[in-house]
């Protein structure tokens, strides 16, 4: 294709690299003991050569495109080969995010259907699963609607992109893990049953994510990634079962170590009885992990709700803040009620206000920084003003000012100096 026909300014973009170079780079990535994505992609219809072109050029080979999919308002993303690759006609790459079962439990039956779908409507390629918690399925553009119907028939659906409520993710919780304080899978299912229109139509300033972690270990890293985070917790001391503790000690459990391992010194051992000072316990799970099931999360269980964690966003990555420290969960069957307490605040107060005041592409975590935490609590969450000021005034018990991640523009000299020093250091490692 002559450069005049290109929509881009060719002087700023790379030339398509020579074929041998592309093949050499791809071959490099098939060597070594770690599983290779290139080897895997070669078993599919994915145009791996384009990926190789990108590698050699050091520039992504994909540009934005749009697929027509009447009735599908979220969940489909489209790309085309970048104009600089000069591939003519362009190759289109469309993929659908598939909302999958809670806690990613796939029966092989269901998975075989999904495999069939990817062969029939796509490239025989799946991302199983992406960081967002959905399966990403490459699909041939003309077959999008057919794919969606097929997926719906087997009990799944496409969704979770754009300014909607994204895929809600839960940790495996009670399904496989002993520590879960509440049923995270049920919480996820319940979220969808309450907020399905949020998942359907893009209607917000930016995306919304809920994540459910069953205990303070937070395997999902939910507090770093989700707007609304629910973490299982308890009040007071962990629950000690003396009988089982005795057994644990007989089996070689080291009580001294256990006492020492508590970061706040909440545990004491009187020679025959373990006592834990609930007012000191910070729910670090250390004793529980060591001596489960002799020590379990406390009896007075509940949920902590945090707000505003993000990775990508205007103000850089940030961890979520505690919005509601404790929603009591007196028994497992009260989970829906407890969640409803949160949904009422999120659905009826915070999100409508965010809709009004949020800037475009501003996650709730960025909004709360812009409007300040105090105003967020009183105007968005609509807490009692008295409570809001008390919360803002509570002094951190730990001096927990930590740096966020910054971005910076190093000058060429700075880079050169750094790399010289790095190279010197690296010689010493040999």
């Amino acid at each position: 294709m002559a450069s005049e026909e290109l929509p881009i300014d060719p002087s700023l973009w790379p030339e398509p690299p020579p074929k041998e170079k592309v093949e050499e780079y791809l071959a490099e990535l098939e060597k070594g003991p770690w599983p290779s994505h290139v080897t895997e992609l070669k078993k599919t219809k994915y145009p791996v050569y384009i990926y190789g072109m990108g590698l050699v050029a050091g520039v992504t080979p994909w540009a934005t495109s749009a697929a027509k999919a009447p009735g599908i308002y979220s969940g489909v993303l489209s790309r085309m080969s970048h104009p600089w690759t000069r591939i003519s006609p362009p190759i289109f790459e469309d993929h659908a995010r598939v909302l999958i079962p809670s806690a990613q439990v796939f029966t092989t039956t269901l998975l075989r259907f999904l495999i069939e779908a990817s062969r029939k409507y796509g490239w025989g390629l799946l991302q199983f699963i992406g960081g967002t918690g959905d399966v990403v399925l490459n699909v041939v553009r003309e077959k999008l609607i057919e794919l969606n119907v097929f997926l719906r028939r087997i009990g799944l659906d496409i969704g979770g992109s754009g300014d909607v409520m994204r895929n809600t993710v839960s940790c495996p919780g009670p399904l496989l893990c002993p520590y879960a304080v509440y049923d995270t899978l049920k919480a996820r299912d319940f979220t969808y049953s309450c907020l399905i229109d949020w998942a359907t139509y893009p209607q917000f300033p930016y995306k919304i994510k809920f994540k459910y972690s069953g205990c303070p270990i937070d395997c999902l890293k939910a507090q770093a990634r989700a707007d609304y985070v629910v973490i299982g917790t308890w009040r007071g001391a962990p629950d000690v079962d003396d009988e089982r503790l005795k057994q644990w000690i007989e089996e070689g459990g080291d009580v001294e170590e256990l006492v020492k391992s508590c970061p706040t010194g909440a545990i004491s051992w009187g020679g025959s009885k373990l006592s834990i000072d609930g007012s000191k316990c910070v729910k670090c799970m250390e004793c529980i992990r060591r001596a489960y099931p002799a020590i379990k999360p406390g009896k007075e269980r509940g949920l902590t709700v945090l707000v505003g964690g993000t990775i990508k966003s205007r103000n850089g990555p940030k961890l979520a803040k505690v919005l509601i420290p404790f929603i009591p969960l007196p028994s497992p069957d009260k989970l829906e009620e407890a969640l409803m307490t949160m949904f009422q605040i999120v659905r009826d107060r915070i999100v409508p206000k965010w809709d009004e005041e949020g800037w475009r592409r501003e996650r709730i975590g960025d909004t709360l920084i812009r409007v300040t935490w105090h105003r967020f609590l009183s105007d968005f969450a609509k807490f009692d003003p008295d409570l809001a000021s008390k919360i803002t005034k509570v002094k951190p018990t730990e001096p927990y000012y930590t740096y966020g991640i910054t971005f910076f523009n190093m000058s060429d000299e700075q880079k050169k100096k750094y790399l010289e020093d790095l190279n010197k250091a690296m010689e010493a490692w040999q």
Partner: protein, 403 residues
């Protein structure tokens, strides 16, 4: 292979659901998403009857974890490390399905980290499964104190905003660190995240043990020609967090038709590029930074920790990234030798301090090259009260009725 009918009865719900979701499911006629089917309908009986009853988790081999329920049931979870970016071909997944049916209870759990867990109910079968997986060329391991996985984002595989490629980094790092998956132990859990740009789809860079993040390391250029056909000057201007972008306006009409970026303000965050494709990086200047020491778990003496930048810039070197690989391997090796058992990288550094970290690794001290502000500015977030005390919780109880 287990017979299909038998399989299907076990997964009652798929059958049920297939029956349920009949009729017209075309999106135009029914645009509302269909909520996931409640889990009780498809989770196999073995798991369902033990929900919330697990009492013990035990490591059998670095690839097998045993879950014991108080009912006496046992479930074994065999872990397979997936290819970078969890890109599985249909053929490979089918192979896994066959193995899961043959040796397991027909359940496969993919994890966001890019691993696949296959469940079975018998230790001997679990061991056979591990063997069989290995024989079929899968990489198994990564439970307990090992490298759990390296999770890259999509980057050049499909992403339009990528600065550098991530899956190739994951592959190169994996080849260098593969021994920590099974043969060699690490002091504690280790997971590595790789992202092609500061958007960090590869996983939370702020709470990763080790994170590699691609970034422009330059003020981007604007492709004016392309911008005039696809760009919206005001959207891009609004996207910049530091106000480095100003619209170019037609003097006669005042209408914005393009943009100018002021290099003295730009912090190379890449957010303008998220908004429009017509922003260009010079590939000779792009690079990666390395962050270490973050964690989201409330565990250890420190609770949650945010990662810090320890290597500000390494130029991009696809496809094998030799400098980056050496640096990351160095950090991991030094941690493995020096940390106490159970100490994640963040907890280890908190104990020894950053000075010691740079001394032990021999990396140039990044603080000499870049000044990090002490005060929380727009890109620094203070973390208030990560660890809740009881008094805070009780403060709420007083007001519970008013929330």
């Amino acid at each position: 292979m287990g017979d299909a009918a038998d399989q299907r009865t076990r997964i009652r719900v798929v059958v049920h659901k297939l029956a349920f979701r009949s009729g017209d499911l075309t999106p135009v006629n029914h645009p509302e998403k269909l909520a996931p089917i409640p889990y009780t309908n498809y989770v196999p009986e073995t798991l369902l009857r033990n929900m919330g009853k697990w009492v013990k988790t035990e490591l059998i081999t670095p690839a097998i974890v045993k879950h014991v329920s108080e009912t006496g049931d046992e479930v074994y979870s065999v872990k397979v490390i997936g290819p970078p970016n969890s890109r599985f071909s249909a053929d490979t997944l089918e192979k896994l399905c066959d193995l899961a049916d043959m040796y397991g209870i027909g359940v496969i759990r993919p994890t966001p980290q890019g691993n696949v867990e296959i469940l079975t109910d018998d230790e001997e079968k679990a061991r056979k499964l591990e063997e069989e997986l290995r024989r079929n060329g899968f990489l198994v391991g990564g439970w307990g104190n090992h490298l759990w996985n390296i999770q890259p984002c999509t980057a050049y595989l499909t992403c339009t905003t990528a600065v550098i490629d991530a899956p190739s980094i994951a592959k190169a790092l994996g080849d260098a660190l593969v021994e920590y998956v099974y043969e060699k132990e690490t002091p504690a859990h280790l997971s590595i995240k790789v992202s092609g740009c500061p958007n960090a789809c590869g996983g939370a860079i702020d709470v990763a043990d080790v994170a590699v993040v691609g970034y422009p390391a330059q003020t981007p250029m604007v492709d004016d020609k392309w911008f005039s056909s696809i760009g919206s000057p005001l959207d891009v201007t609004a996207a910049c967090p530091v106000g480095a972008i100003t619209p170019k306006r037609d003097p006669s009409t005042g209408k914005a038709y393009g943009i100018v970026i002021r290099p003295e303000l730009c912090i190379a965050c890449g957010r303008c590029r998220d908004t429009v494709d017509a922003i260009v990086y010079d590939p000779k200047k792009t690079g990666v930074m390395v962050l270490v020491g973050g964690k989201a778990s409330n565990t250890g003496p420190n609770g949650q920790l945010m990662s810090r930048i320890v290597v500000p810039y390494i130029p991009s070197e696809p496809p094998r990234w030799p400098t980056l690989v050496k640096v990351v391997k160095r950090i991991v090796d030094v941690w493995v030798v020096n940390a106490n058992k159970g100490e994640r990288i963040g907890d280890w550094i908190s104990r020894i301090g950053w000075d010691k970290f740079f001394e032990l690794t021999g990396l140039p001290d990044v603080r000499k090259y870049l000044r990090f502000s002490e005060k929380p500015g727009p890109l620094y977030q203070p973390l208030y009260r990560r660890r809740l005390t009881e008094s805070y919780a009780y403060l709420f109880r007083e007001y519970a009725s008013k929330i």
